[in-house]
């Protein structure tokens, strides 16, 4: 096939449309979106753990910034569990919807723990806040998340 300017232009625009549709499909998939939000939570958790295990020194600014991101991303994820969004690669357990009140409480506990962590200004309070925050992740994952697929 002879590549004319026109065919090139057509293929280019077609690729953009396909890629856009693909992206939009993902972007509107709540299971994918909440997964991204949770990955962001995990990323922000890493510097907090480094402080907890004394790999890095306590720094209130670092704590505030990362706990703030965790809180924001947890709130975002919490809104991304509509009915019928389980299955596929998702590790969401059916209990999220059969015990919605319990799930909402577990999610709110995690958000409260993240907010409390963001307000920590001294090292003495840090470890307790860390246990509460990590414990809130654990409690929810234990009950409402499937083992890896």
């Amino acid at each position: 096939m002879r590549l004319t300017k026109r065919t090139l232009a057509y293929s280019a625009s077609l690729s953009i449309v396909v890629a856009g549709a693909w992206g939009a499909a993902f972007a509107s998939d709540p299971a994918h979106q909440r997964h991204e939000a949770m990955e962001a939570v995990q990323e922000s958790f890493k510097p907090l753990r480094a402080i907890a295990v004394k790999e890095t020194a306590f720094d209130a600014a670092v704590v505030k910034k990362n706990a703030g991101t965790i809180l924001e991303k947890l709130k975002e994820a919490h809104g991304l569990f509509p009915e019928g969004s389980a299955g596929g690669d998702s590790r969401a357990k059916a209990e999220i919807w059969t015990d919605r009140a319990g799930f909402d409480t577990a999610m709110k506990n995690a958000q409260a723990a993240a907010a409390a962590m963001a307000a920590v200004t001294d090292e003495a309070a840090y470890m307790a806040a860390m246990k509460t925050l990590g414990g809130s992740c654990k409690a929810c994952h234990d009950k409402y998340r499937l083992p890896k697929q």
């Binding site: 295990v53 414990g135 654990k138 994952h141 083992p147 890896k148």
Partner: protein, 301 residues
Amino acid sequence: MKLPSRRTTAAIAFVVAVAAASFWWLTRPDPLPATAIPAHTVDRANGEVLYHAGSCFACHKPPDGAANPTLPSGGTPFKTPIGVFYPQNLTPDPETGLGRWSEADFVNAMTRGLAPDGRHYFPAFPYTAYRAMPVTELLDLRAYLMGLQAVKAVHPPHTVPQLGLARRGVGLWKKIALARPPFAPASEGSDAWKRGAYLVNAPGHCGECHTPKSWLMIEDLRHHMAGGPHPGGEGKVPSLRGLVAREKYEDVSNLTLALQNGEELGYEDLSSGGMAAIQENLAKLPESDVRAIADYLLSLK
């Protein structure tokens, strides 16, 4: 229709009787006699370590809302592909717990999968792993349990189809599953590594979930700790091999920290699939034992 002759009927009855008798004979219990229990000064502290190493409480915990939520009085439904089990009360209550069990009763349960009355236990109770524990260790564990506060707890019967016959049939399964030698301690390697191997394979029974099983529900040792389908029916149990190569953990210290703290320090792989409860028990072990477990696990390539 012509009725079978008397001779045919007699022949069928004979075959059925022989089959039933063979089944009965092949599935008979084989308990250890009381005389096989050595004299031993019990060490309750060691018993407590074994109790946590085996995560006994993870399965033998009471149902939500129990009056003594931290005691292993059992009864929380344990779902398996063949039905729902209600694990035994491990407190020394004489009516519903271990109160009237002799030392031999306890050792028979742990190493031969036999109840005090001689009935077979289903392998949902992992005696295939526990049988690798020396009798003295089992006596320490028993002493720890007998020192707990007694809790009376009546559980529903297991909901396994044809429970009585299935239970007797476990005798046949044992003929195959227990014919294989139990985990044997290695003669080489560091003390920590050997300790870790023992804790993981004998009391810890990690392979119950982390080693895939054959169609006979026997661990496939060619894939020891290589992960497999989750016994709960959904999702997978991760492999414990190559944890460093696959960049799951950096080193022994890192894995020790993960086992001690779980997701409280953000090690999110230690939640979900029932692992959170196991991790909480492992966190109660002396640090040297957790390090030993980590040391052994990271040696699995």
